[in-house]
Each structure stands twice: as structure tokens, then as C-alpha cells.
């Protein structure tokens, strides 16, 4: 594989700057307003001005999904900032939300751009108003005039499986059958996130939560309860992806891209994927390790997608932090995934408590930790050194992408 001859091309890229808008529930601000705030922060953090930015990428942009999901399109952001671009990209298909970051890395490696601004914006909390979280397709119909569905949604919506929570509840239930996963184990993902969120001023849920609180929460779709689901939030996260040649000039430590994980080897389907307990996480993670000499044991901090708690469990196994079916035991008493544990997990609260920034919040926190800017939530290696290697994953079901970042050139 690619590690033998020439280093993978993504290794030519670094994250030279990070930025994040206000994050919260019902902020009442427009998505372009949040986006400009995050983008300008990232550009300044990278020690650049907008005149230096010659690339732009987002996920997904341009009207994808329901209210507040897509974020502003890349043309809208280009115009808002009057960027002069050599390369630009947006879209919702690819290796998870981080497809935009991965595309930016490749654009930089190929010389199409030198400094790519990458953003992901959600305003789902404001968009949903007080009406509660809708199901996909509106959740229900009312007789005549109800739209019909084609494509993959036709296989789930007619049966009331109208939310990803239903699709992933099946994964969780299957894991309880196959691996004896318990609700108490699953709850550790939510509890760990909440504990870390207490030290993240931007987190949307910071009140203490213990196992009893978790077990008492109302059920959404068995075995997943309210605290297994992230909550729609408002916020924008942005990065500057630069050529590594820029790293010495960046005012903050650059986060080096060591490897990306992009594979989809099973069927691109929520219900036909060969192994319903893993799905595409298995493939994306495997392809990442094929591109690096680093191993799971080298990872100092993990930011794993937890739009639903069960996905973090899937990712722990897919990335090799424990064996297949062993994630329940791995998180059992919460020690291993705590900030003092063997694998500090979702140190800003993840999406469950930090807010549904749809993958990009996790990438942001990986950079914060590698740069040593975590403050009260900063994790350290044994001996007190800053973390050297961070793993990030995005996605669930047939959608998956991973990123391995290092503080040095690795």
C-alpha cells in the first residue's frame, strides 16, 4: 500500500488555523453570519488575511437536507468574503462530513491551492424553532398531497423509520444481541461527554449527568434514549488547510495531516451493509491505517463521531482501540475514555453534550488538544507532555471518514 514508496499525498497538508463561531441552541442568527464569524477567526488564527485564501470547501452546502442542515453554499461564502479562488468545492457525497477537509488536503497537495478555507455550518436549532426535531420527510403526512419518496428513503420511511435514530437503534439492538452490549455501557459515552462538556464553555449541555439520569431518560427508539442522541445546534466551524511548507510561519502549531480514511467497501446502504454492527466505519478506518505506520496504540486522544452514542462505540472498534464487539467492556466504568484514561475521548463533550456541529466540532477539538489549548480539559501524555497524535472520525451507517492528525511532522 501507499506507505512503502512515497508518503501519502495528504501528508503535504496541515491545518494551520482553526475558528469557531458562537455555538448554542436557538441563537437566532443566520447561517452565513455564523459562517463568516468562524471563517474570519480561522484565517486570523492561521496568521493570514483573506487575500491569502485561494481555496474554499464545505460540506454539504447548496440546499442539501432539511432546515438549517446544509449551511451556506461555497459561492455564497466566496461572495460574502470576496475571495479570489483557485479551487473551490462543496457537496454531500463522500467520506463523511470531513470530505471537505480531505478534498482540501488533496487540493493543497496537488498545488491547486495553497490555503484552503474549509467550513461546516449548522443552524438546525434555530430552523426547528419550537416545533421539536422533525423526522426525515417531515416525520408524517396528512393524507392528500403528501410527497412520495424514491431513492434510499423509500426503504425506510414507509415503516415509520423516519429518523437516523431508528436506523441506528437497530445497530445498537443488534450489538446487544451479538456482543451483550448493555445500556449501562452505552451510557458511558453520554456521561463521558457530559463530564468533558463541563470544561467547555461553548458546550450546549453542561449540567452534571450520572448513570441514573441516563437510565431514567425518556426512550426515543429502543434501546436509544434521549441522551443517546445529539441535539440540533447552531454553530459554524472553520479551518485553514495549508501546504505544510507554511507550517513554520504559522503563528500556532500546525496540525499535520498524517493519513485520511475514505474507503467504502461494503454496500452503501443503511440496511443492506454486510455487517450491520459496523457499517462503513470499518472500511474508512481500515483504509486510514493502510496509509500510515502509526498504530492505534500511538493515538493520544480520540474525537469520535457521536451524533448517536452507539456510533462512538462502533468507531472505537473500527479504529482498533479495542477488538470487535469489545467496546462495551472497554468503556464499562468510564475510566479508559476519561481524560486521565488510556484513550481520552470526545474531550470537548462530543456532539452529545458539546453540540451537533456535525463532525467539524470533533476535528476542531482534535486541533485544540494537539496545540495544547484545551485549558481545564487539556489532556496530557504520561509524563505531562502534550498529545502527539489525534484520531478523528465522522459519520455513521454507510457514511464514514477518518483523519489522523499529528502535532509534529510525524
Amino acid at each position: 500500500m501507499p506507505t512503502t514508496a512515497e508518503p501519502p499525498l495528504e501528508r503535504r497538508a496541515v491545518i494551520s488555523g482553526i475558528g469557531q463561531s458562537a455555538v448554542g441552541r436557538h441563537l437566532g442568527r443566520s447561517d452565513i453570519d455564523l459562517t463568516v464569524e468562524a471563517c474570519l477567526a480561522a484565517v486570523a488564527d492561521a496568521g493570514l488575511t483573506r487575500d491569502d485564501i485561494d481555496g474554499l470547501a464545505t460540506y454539504p452546502g447548496m440546499g442539501a437536507g432539511t432546515g438549517g442542515f446544509a449551511g451556506p453554499s461555497s459561492p455564497e461564502v466566496q461572495d460574502a468574503l470576496r475571495l479570489r479562488l483557485n479551487w473551490h468545492d462543496g457537496g454531500g457525497e463522500g467520506p463523511g462530513q470531513m470530505r471537505a477537509v480531505i478534498a482540501a488536503c488533496l487540493a493543497v497537495a496537488a498545488g491547486l491551492a495553497r490555503h484552503v478555507l474549509v467550513y461546516r455550518t449548522v443552524s438546525e436549532s434555530t430552523a426547528q424553532g419550537s416545533g421539536g426535531r422533525p423526522g426525515i420527510g417531515g416525520g408524517g403526512g396528512s393524507g392528500g398531497g403528501v410527497p412520495r419518496f424514491s431513492g434510499f428513503l423509500q426503504w425506510s420511511l414507509p415503516f415509520g423509520a423516519v429518523s437516523a435514530v431508528n436506523w441506528l437503534a437497530l445497530v445498537a439492538e443488534r450489538r446487544m444481541y451479538e456482543f451483550s452490549l448493555t445500556r449501562e455501557q452505552l451510557g458511558q459515552i453520554a456521561i463521558n461527554g457530559r463530564r468533558n462538556a463541563a470544561d467547555n464553555p461553548k458546550a450546549v449541555y453542561r449540567d452534571p449527568m450520572d448513570l441514573a439520569d441516563y437510565l431514567d431518560a425518556r426512550m426515543i427508539s429502543t434501546p436509544l434514549c434521549l441522551f443517546d442522541c445529539d441535539a440540533p445546534s447552531d454553530g459554524s466551524t472553520a479551518f485553514v488547510v495549508s501546504h505544510r511548507d507554511y507550517a513554520p510561519d504559522a503563528p500556532r502549531p500546525a496540525c499535520h495531516v498524517n493519513a485520511v480514511g475514505t474507503a467504502l467497501r461494503g454496500r452503501a446502504s443503511w440496511d443492506q451493509f454486510d455487517d450491520p454492527t459496523t457499517m462503513a466505519a470499518r472500511d474508512a478506518a481500515a483504509s486510514m491505517w493502510e496509509r500510515t505506520d502509526l498504530r492505534p496504540a500511538d493515538v493520544d486522544v480520540a474525537q469520535l463521531y457521536d451524533g448517536f452514542s452507539i456510533l462512538a462505540m462502533v468507531w472505537l472498534e473500527a479504529l482498533g482501540f479495542c477488538g470487535r464487539g469489545e467496546s462495551g467492556a472497554f468503556v464499562e466504568d468510564g475510566t479508559a475514555i476519561s481524560r486521565l484514561g488510556a484513550l481520552p475521548l470526545n474531550t470537548a463533550g462530543g456532539q452529545l453534550s458539546g453540540g451537533r456541529l456535525h463532525g467539524f466540532g470533533l476535528i476542531h477539538e482534535a486541533c485544540v488538544q494537539l496545540r495544547g489549548e484545551g485549558g481545564a480539559r487539556q489532556v496530557f501524555r504520561r509524563g505531562g507532555a502534550l498529545p502527539e497524535v489525534a484520531a478523528v472520525s465522522n459519520g455513521g451507517g454507510p457514511i464514514a471518514g477518518t483523519l489522523l492528525l499529528t502535532r509534529g511532522t510525524g
Binding site: G140, Q154, L157, A161, A169, E173, M219, I220, S269, W270
Partner: protein, 146 residues
């Protein structure tokens, strides 16, 4: 209370590829596309067999029997007026890799077990016959072969 489905059904659009699947229940029988060259059942339907790329694919009647791979009781009121309903993932008897997301009905949710044998029963909505599944009961008089 034995489970039913949601109170309101979101329906599929009947198109060239999958229309046959959604109307198959009009005669009480479940059909999947099958490749006549390699014998694979193909789901969702595809223009050629994704295994051997043969164009010789056509709908074929199956037994309607399946086993439960996983299930969830949806409690959240996404769909107004619904009692909790069971979303099931089932694997058809003819080919384990072919699965359907469906509703498990006529069963107490706590009685559902992974691996439980189930059989199709159709629920008509307009021109669509939704394949739902219920536990296989004792010997049925209309199925002398069982």
C-alpha cells in the same frame, strides 16, 4: 397491545425500478428481483445483476418467510397519532444478505427475539402494498406444505 405500524404512512413513489416490489402484494405474494444467470436476489432492484452484471434479471416470487436481524420500538412521536411501533430489520429466507426494513406486527414487542421466524403480510395504502412481517404461527391451514 400487539404492535401495528405508524398511524400515517409515508409512501414510496412507484418508479420503473422498484414499482414491482411495492405493488407485488396485490396478489398476496412478495417478489424480489433475481438474476437468472447466477441466481442472486438483487435488492434494491438494479439494472443489471450487481454480482455477475447479467442483464437477465426479473422479479421472482419468494416464500415471504424471513428472520429477525434486529428490531427497535419507536417511542418518539415523529408521526402524530402513532402508538409505539416496532421497526424491524429482517433477512429473507432465500438469501440471508437480502434484508428489509419493515414493521413487525401482531406481536407483543417484548416477545420479539433476534432470529425469530416471521412471515410477510401486506398492508395496502393507495396503490402500494407494504410488506410487513408477523411471527410465524403454528401450522397454517392455507399452507399445507408447512
Amino acid at each position: 397491545m400487539p404492535a401495528r405500524g405508524p398511524a400515517i404512512r409515508l409512501l414510496p413513489r412507484l418508479d420503473q425500478d422498484s414499482g414491482f416490489f411495492w405493488t407485488s402484494g396485490a396478489d398476496g405474494r412478495l417478489r424480489f428481483q433475481r438474476c437468472h444467470r447466477c441466481g442472486s436476489f438483487v435488492h434494491p432492484p438494479a439494472p443489471r445483476c450487481p454480482e455477475c452484471l447479467s442483464e437477465d434479471v426479473a422479479p421472482e416470487v419468494v416464500s415471504g418467510r424471513a428472520t429477525v436481524v434486529a428490531h427497535t420500538v419507536n417511542v418518539h412521536p415523529w408521526i402524530p397519532g402513532s402508538e409505539p411501533y416496532v421497526v424491524g430489520l429482517v433477512s429473507i429466507e432465500e438469501q440471508e444478505s437480502v434484508r428489509l426494513t419493515t414493521n413487525l406486527i401482531d406481536v407483543e414487542p417484548e416477545e420479539i427475539r433476534t432470529g425469530m421466524p416471521v412471515e410477510v403480510v401486506f398492508e395496502q395504502h393507495e396503490d402500494v402494498y407494504l410488506p410487513l412481517f408477523r411471527p410465524v404461527r403454528a401450522v397454517r391451514s392455507d399452507r399445507p406444505g408447512l
